[in-house]
């Protein structure tokens, strides 16, 4: 009997000691920070169904993407209402215009701004890659399986024309330290890359603030064909991950609504646009890509992006205090903030080896870490 009681007490002692060790390890957190851990391939389940949602709310601020209301930009897209429904995984969509308005080829009537591609303007000498670029067709980002999308992103990154443009903006950033960016035009009907925009040179505003433009455009062509900027790529000349502001690159095209001077893309076209759109950030430490997996949340979070940026900064500092390096802290912050509406991918600098990133919790330390999905 005594032996049994002693055994029970001994068990209790061991249990309480074990409990203390768990609490203490959490309190003191003395273990080395986990490195990036590579995990098995997993299927990705996102909310692919887009519920009907009015997003032309006039309360949306007409700033950043809204501009000053100039009719040939996106300034007026917030004044009307449109809705969309259906899946964001459509394979093929018959592209039709919803509203039959005259399609001017001037910069004011086509939803595009300025250069009308294919209108006879001479294409500059771009060291030969233009010829190979003509036939580039983009693979769809289905947003169902990040491993399939990873393959599509890697495929894009190996295109000779993309390599040339990426090298161009990367070298400019190395020379000046400023951010640089460009957009990729795709024919929404044929899925072919038709052109790249000129390089946008960023500005430094002081206090470390960087400002760079994105040429978000769409242009109506003959036979109801549309060209649209599906990818936005820009540089950060310092250790970092994409910022929370970067996540909203390209949302202007998706949110734009038709008005007297401009035909926006139809809801079906917007679905196609989103299934090819990616946001690319080339930093000093890695190249990153982002795809939008939940457009409803993307649109809903857009008005809150400035408050979200402050939260993103504070989350980054929280992870940095926990001994993560800066870009990992930013990756964790970004996934915590927007992981329910986007997928983050990371590649080595200059390489085409994007892999999906996810945040997981280490069960022994209760700390989050970046898990790389190798897609094997």
């Amino acid at each position: 009997m005594k032996r049994k009681v002693l055994l029970q007490i001994l068990s209790l002692g061991v249990f309480s000691f074990g409990l203390f060790m768990i609490i203490d390890s959490k309190a003191q957190d003395v273990e080395a920070p986990p490195e990036d851990i590579e995990v098995e391939s997993i299927m990705y389940d996102v909310n692919a169904n887009c519920v009907e949602k009015n997003i032309g709310d006039p309360e949306f601020p007409t700033d950043e993407y809204g501009g000053n209301g100039s009719s040939n930009y996106l300034g007026s897209f917030l004044q009307n209402t449109f809705s969309f429904s259906g899946m964001n995984t459509l394979d093929e969509v018959v592209v039709t215009r919803v509203v039959a308005k005259p399609k001017s080829t001037t910069s004011c009537g086509n939803g595009g701004f300025g250069l009308d591609i294919g209108s006879g303007i001479a294409i500059p000498n771009l060291n030969g890659w233009w010829e190979s670029m003509i036939k580039v067709t983009l693979k769809k980002l289905a947003k169902i399986d990040p491993c399939a999308d990873r393959a599509a992103l890697n495929d894009r990154k190996t295109k000779q024309s993309t390599v040339a443009k990426n090298n161009e903006i990367k070298n400019l950033t190395l020379q000046t330290g400023k951010e640089h960016g460009y957009n990729t035009y795709m024919n929404l009907n044929t899925k072919e890359v038709t052109n790249y925009t000129s390089v946008d040179v960023g500005h430094e505003l002081g206090d470390g603030v960087h400002e760079v433009a994105s040429q978000e455009r769409w242009q109506w062509k003959a036979n109801d064909q549309v060209e649209v900027t599906v990818d936005y790529t820009h540089t950060h000349g310092f250790e970092s991950a994409p910022s929370s502001i970067d996540v909203f690159s390209g949302i202007g095209i998706y949110m734009a609504t038709s008005n007297a001077n401009m035909d926006a893309l139809s809801p079906a076209q917007k679905q196609v646009y989103l299934s090819y759109h990616s946001i690319n950030v080339m930093t000093a430490n890695h190249d990153y890509a982002i795809t939008i997996t939940d457009p409803v949340k993307w649109v809903n979070r857009y008005p809150n992006r400035q408050a979200d940026f402050e939260k993103y900064r504070n989350l980054t500092e929280r992870y940095s205090n926990q001994s993560y390096d800066w870009h990992t802290a930013q990756e964790l912050a970004l996934i915590e903030l927007y992981g329910d509406m986007m997928q983050l991918y990371r590649s080595d600098v200059g390489a085409a080896n994007f892999k999906p990133l996810n945040a997981k919790i280490d069960p022994s330390t209760f700390r989050k870490f970046i898990a790389i999905n190798n897609c094997n």
Partner: protein, 192 residues
């Protein structure tokens, strides 16, 4: 037997109390006093991580720190503001930070559509400064009005230590926090 059980309960109680009385936590975090001297931030007037978390929730309704284990480093309560420092040694694995790169990485980024007016709301409220003081370099950065968090990042001139500092403050006390950062930095000297 009863005595043994009583001892066990006391032992468990002491362990729990030990956790509650944590003044320093985090991976490879040192006391600030091991690296530097600061009149305002002495070991004797620190508060515990538990107290700091309670104070934080009084100051900020929805902080990004979700529980006590997120309260890394050491804490002081000064004039209605919560001060936090996280001091670490610079090593081959934890390199000295390029403050100019870090300044850019922390600053608000503005992406705007060509032809539209960039929205500089965040940038206009943002303050960031790199300067040399005493025997260290520091990056101070914060949103002047819109944030409860004011940051400073210090590295000593000998390249031995990094101190990540934060003042948690109510927004209406922002100016007080900016002045407190100056007071802390003015009285901070790294040990030679």
């Amino acid at each position: 037997m009863k005595k043994f059980i009583l001892l066990l309960i006391i032992y468990t109680g002491i362990l729990s109390n030990n956790y509650a009385q944590t003044y320093l936590q985090g991976i490879e975090v040192l006391p600030l006093s091991d690296a530097a001297h600061c009149d305002l931030l002495t070991p004797s007037n620190r508060i515990t991580a538990d107290d700091a978390f309670l104070k934080l929730k009084q100051l900020i309704p929805d902080p990004v720190e979700e529980n006590i284990s997120d309260m890394v480093g050491e804490f002081w309560w000064i004039d209605g503001m919560l001060v936090n420092t996280v001091t670490r040694r610079i090593t081959a694995q934890r390199l000295k930070i390029n403050l100019y790169d870090r300044q850019k990485a922390k600053a608000p980024e503005i992406i705007y559509v060509t032809g539209t007016t960039p929205d500089r709301t965040l940038a206009n409220d943002y303050f960031s400064e790199i300067k040399s003081m005493n025997n260290f370099e520091v990056l101070v950065d914060y949103f002047k009005t819109r944030s409860n968090y004011k940051r400073f990042l210090v590295q000593d001139n000998k390249g031995k230590f990094i101190v990540m500092g934060t003042i948690y403050v109510k927004k209406q006390d922002a100016q007080k926090a900016h002045e407190l950062i100056d007071l802390i930095l003015n009285s901070l000297y790294f040990k030679q």
